[in-house]
Symmetry: C2
Subunit: 92 residues, 2 copies
């Protein structure tokens, strides 16, 4: 039954990680992320890194995969936010 | 040792869920969520609901708590986005 839970976990993790992709696409297209808080991706990176550690320690593949993708997505979002707000100091 | 992992998991879950709070606060203050994609909270709600199911099935308290809070935060974000874009049809 462990395999079934792993599949469910991977599906849950895949969908959760995929949630950040439309935000990345929107940001890339509009080159505007002013309404996105700096702290959201920042705090999510810290939290997801802890989840990653938790997943590794509990040997739970679903948690590991989901959070590796999640950290990458949020790091990209943070980078884009920084990049696009360089010329616009109002953004903060 | 299970208790230690539960504490780590709760910490990870707490921080990850807390990540959405600055976004909610920013949205509430500025009344603008134009740069936030509709699909991000929508897809996250679906993914986190699956995580919640996974957590219940695996009897993992950390996963359950983290995802209940996560679903609530993202539902609020989606509601705010819908509310604030009512008068601004450009937002989409």
């Amino acid at each position: 039954m462990v395999t079934d839970w792993t599949i469910l976990g991977l599906l849950a993790g895949g969908i959760t990680s995929a949630g950040f992709i439309p935000q990345l696409v929107r940001g890339f297209r509009t080159k505007k992320l002013d309404d996105v808080s700096y702290y959201m991706p920042l705090v999510l990176i810290i939290g997801m890194s802890l989840w990653l550690f938790y997943g590794v320690m509990r040997r739970d593949l679903s948690i590991v995969v989901a959070n590796v993708v999640g950290v990458c997505c949020n790091a990209s979002l943070l980078f884009m936010k920084k990049l696009y707000s360089r010329v616009d100091f109002e953004a903060g």
